[in-house]
């Protein structure tokens, strides 16, 4: 595009309210409404139990308690299980929870009773007075226990297997059997979670005068919530508005819906006739939202003397927790995105998705890719070690080359479409990364450090990320008679700066001043057709839709202007909201065009007189032409054939303390290719955040369940999210811009990328420093210490062959 804002580091417009403390997050809403009620939830303290009795009699006398509900109080669709959002033929045993547990609980934290009171303190007092009788069942915790299937999570799911899915391109097993070299690896990643700073939350208000329900939810999909609320409460869709206010981070967890509270709060608001609010607290977020990442993998690989992949056969086990509302998205992504920038001559992958008595699993930033990247990159490093080759070189020989796009892997991706890469330049990325991190100079640095008694290591990891999956997003652009431009797109925002990025696109496309553009996201009143914010899709999907809608508005503006100025459309240009005839003084501003676009009977101000019936229009024609509509608006949708594939490579240099086994990050380098950048400042911010989250996932964060299914670290005290002191002091970033041919702006998604290669790149660097195979992540100093001791005791058995 030959425009000025697209590609610029434009300061974010949303910052103005956030910096003044004027953001409006869900818990901020209706705070001064004296009728507002507050909800709290009784949650299971046990991982697996049958509920034999619930006694709420003590609660009823508590002053301030307005309602207490258990499963028996629910009726109709509310008494049925929550929806299975993404069915898949391979998900033969999908299970979802009830809004309130019916007769059994399957993880610590599962909702059992719902209390509404005049304030949250009182609601919590009431929750503490509910008495539940349980019949204890043995819990299934962890993948080995789930596979062993000595006990079942759901009695009607044999082997605890919710799904088994196999895909193959070529005959991988035969290729491995015939390969000159083979290796096998067992690789494991533990549970972690998104942990946005703001937990879940929902507020609802029922208006009895209009029979309308308004729901505000901290969600990544307001249209998804709207559909579920309407269906479960038996309301017409037209009677339900869902608004996503400012959201304090999502990272995936808020795409799942409806949460029990997202239904119970609106139901309570309607039943009680008063607004109701639920704000999740931190402990609740740990035990009753969603986790991700836990997978165990077995790899068989056959390769030639150069390290070229001849056959790759991966089997893995995915722990999806107690329920499967989000289907198989995470393991499908692992199974396909594992391939990264490489082209094995044959590939087979099979996974089992397993039930455990733990919090359910839905996508967390990266969504299965960090695990896949870990598996592939650990395999690459093992091959390099086996052949005694440079790790970058082994990767190079396996890269898909720039002239091989589009590249079809012969597999089906998470959106049900073929896994076909649209564009990329992996050799160029690798060259930039090696330069950025000092790959070729590292051995000299290692020697220098060794002379000081210091131990350092370097690692690199590559990924490809399918972004911008369908089905679609839409946008509506409305030029008001003031010339101000109001833009709406339906997907939601959790801090990505959509109000700025989309305004940049509209300002450029339509030819208006950036300051005159105001963007609304996630409000079903403004754009009822939308999907949601996940899979790094907002810029690609809504960015494209916003561009197309602005084009529609521009076309109309030019048509009306041409008529008003008695000029040829081809001679018109728009800049700063003014249409002018090239080479003349003749011009008309968009506000006036907006006035003219809407034939009026009644003037409402001075300017609008120009559009009234004695002022404008050809008496021989209908005021609004047959193929036209009133108003200066554009509305359009973007629905691509398939995802667009962004890519990148990370490298890290770490120092491991020979005494304490602590890991220190000395240098972190990122080469990133997300096609054209709308706002490089925002993209770099996304990378920074992803890298920090990746550092957490690699070195600090894990969900520590004990054998009884208790989460031992359900607080920020013990779930170790990095502070500034744990992240790299600087992150060196270089961009490559390989545009996507699939959308009008040539963009690819950027939101998740930073976190994808972290486990892989840290494992590689620690392994390089320690000369001990690293096969499981995250890794703590205590675990590295154990590895050192085991390795010192029997180095041969630990060595990769």
């Amino acid at each position: 595009m030959t425009t000025k804002l697209f590609g610029s580091k434009v300061a974010r417009v949303e910052d103005q309210r956030f910096l003044r403390g004027q953001g409006r997050y869900v818990d901020d809403l209706l705070h001064d409404d004296p009728r507002l009620l507050h909800a709290a939830v009784l949650r299971s303290p046990h991982a697996h139990a049958r509920i034999t009795d619930i006694d709420v009699s003590d609660v009823l006398d508590v002053e301030g308690v307005v309602a207490v509900w258990t499963y028996d109080d629910l009726a109709g669709p509310m008494a049925e299980p929550l929806p299975l959002l993404i069915p898949h033929p391979a998900l033969t045993h999908g299970r979802t929870q009830y809004a309130l547990a019916k007769d059994e609980v399957n993880h610590v934290g599962e909702a059992i009773a719902f209390v509404v009171a005049t304030d949250r303190y009182v609601a919590e007092d009431a929750v503490a007075l509910i008495r539940v009788s349980y019949e204890f069942l043995e819990p299934v915790v962890g993948i080995p226990a789930a596979r062993a299937a000595e006990r079942l999570v759901h009695p009607d799911v044999p082997g605890n297997v919710g799904a088994r899915l196999e895909q193959e391109n070529g005959d991988a097993r035969a290729a491995i059997a015939a390969a000159p070299h083979t290796l096998s690896l067992d690789l494991r990643i533990e549970r972690s979670a998104c942990t946005p700073m703001e937990g879940r939350g929902t507020v609802a208000r029922w208006d009895p005068d209009t029979g309308r329900l308004t729901v505000w939810s901290s969600t990544q999909t307001s249209t998804g919530v709207r559909g579920c609320v309407a269906a479960k409460l038996g309301l017409d869709l037209a009677k339900v508005d869902v608004i996503t206010p400012d959201v304090g981070g999502g990272f995936g967890v808020k795409i799942n819906h409806p949460w029990p509270e997202e239904l119970l709060v609106p139901l309570a608001a309607r039943t009680l006739g008063r607004p109701v609010k639920f704000t999740e607290d931190r402990r609740e977020h740990f035990i009753s939202s969603a986790h991700e990442r836990a997978q165990e993998h077995h790899v068989e690989v056959g390769f030639d003397d150069d390290g070229r992949l001849l056959g790759l056969d991966v089997e893995f086990w995915h722990d999806h927790g107690a329920y499967t509302p989000y289907g198989l998205i995470v393991p499908i992504i692992t199974s396909t995105q594992l391939l990264g920038p490489y082209k094995p001559q044959s590939y087979r992958v099979v996974f089992e998705s397993l039930y455990t008595n733990t919090v359910m699993v839905t996508p967390y930033r990266g969504a299965g890719r960090p695990q896949g990247c870990f598996v592939m990159e650990r395999t690459m490093d093992a091959i390099a070690a086996y052949l005694g080759k440079d790790r970058a070189e082994v990767r190079s020989v396996n890269f898909i080359q720039p002239d091989e796009f589009p590249y079809d892997h012969g597999l089906v991706f998470q959106d049900g479409r073929e896994l076909e890469y649209d564009s990329g330049d992996y050799p160029a990325s690798l060259a930039k990364l090696k330069e950025l991190v000092g790959w070729d100079e590292f051995e000299a640095f290692r020697a220098e450090m060794a002379a000081e008694g210091r131990r350092v290591g370097i690692g690199l990891a590559c990924y490809v990320e399918g972004t911008g999956v369908g089905p679609y997003e839409g946008a509506h652009v409305h030029v008001e008679t003031s010339g101000k431009v109001k833009v709406a797109t339906g997907l939601t925002t959790q801090g990505q700066g959509h109000q700025t990025a989309f305004a940049q696109i509209v300002a450029d496309t339509l030819g208006v001043r950036f300051e005159d553009v105001e963007v609304t996201t996630g409000d079903t009143r403004r754009m009822p057709y939308a999907v949601g914010t996940f899979a790094s899709r907002a810029a690609v999907m809504s960015g494209s839709a916003v561009h197309l809608a602005a084009l529609r508005a521009k076309e109309k503006a030019l048509r009306i202007a041409a008529e008003a100025l008695e000029a040829n459309e081809a001679d018109l240009e728009i800049a700063d909201g003014v249409v002018s005839v090239r080479g003349t003084d003749a011009s008309i501003d968009l506000g006036t065009i907006s006035v003219l676009s809407n034939p009026l009977r009644y003037a409402f101000d001075e300017a609008s007189k120009a559009a009234t019936q004695f002022s404008v229009g050809d008496p021989g024609k209908p005021p609004v032409a047959e193929d036209d509509e009133p108003g200066l608006e554009g509305r359009d949708f973007y629905s691509p054939e398939r995802a667009t594939f962004a890519s990148g490579m990370h490298a890290v240099i770490v120092e491991t303390d020979p005494d304490t086994a602590e890991v220190r990050i000395l240098k972190y380098a990122v080469v990133h290719d997300c096609g054209h950048l709308i706002n490089p400042m925002i993209v770099e911010g996304q990378i920074h955040g992803g890298v920090a989250q990746g550092v957490g996932g690699a070195l600090y964060e894990r969900m520590a369940y004990d054998e009884s299914g208790q989460l031992l670290n359900a607080s920020f005290m013990d779930f170790l999210m990095p502070y500034v002191t744990e992240v790299p002091a600087s992150i060196d970033i270089d961009h490559l811009e390989t545009p996507s041919p699939l959308n009008p702006l040539g963009i690819k998604g950027a939101g998740e990328a930073g976190v994808i290669p972290s486990a892989a790149v840290f494992a590689a660097a620690i392994e390089d420093a320690e000369r001990i195979p690293i096969t499981a992540m995250p890794i703590s100093p205590s675990e590295l210490f154990d590895l050192r001791r085991a390795h010192a005791a029997s180095p041969a058995s630990e060595e990769t062959p």
Partner: protein, 161 residues
Amino acid sequence: MSEQQHDVRLRVNGSVHEVRVPARRLLSDALRHDCGLTGTHVGCEHGVCGACTVLVDGRPTRSCLMLAVSAVDAEVTTVEGLTEPDGSLSPVQQAFSDCHGLQCGFCTPGFLTTIAAGLEDNPDPSEDEAREMVAGNLCRCTGYQNIVKAVLRAAEIKAGS
């Protein structure tokens, strides 16, 4: 039995708020819900994340670890109180905008109050001191890179003004 209520006079951002609260009311809740100052956010309610940080007599303090009834003698400053009287952004706020020091904005008020006080103590921090200044606040979005830059930038703006 009704819970005993306490009449508490809170001084926040130079204004007096007379509130009637039970003893257990956390200062964070009192600020947000009784004073209507929702700029102070609650991220963990156990004192680890720092989102609720306000200034109590000028010192950064976790408002989730203080009872409203204990704040009677204190002068409290929240993020709303950082904005200049004419509505313009204070140096720290401006620096966060300049450096893209925020994304979702939820942790931001805690950083802003912490840094505002930190720069009073140390107007010209080194990069390490800037990092130390924000070392007790969690952010899940930014990876802290631009927050550290914003501390240094804020010092610059403050020195120039």
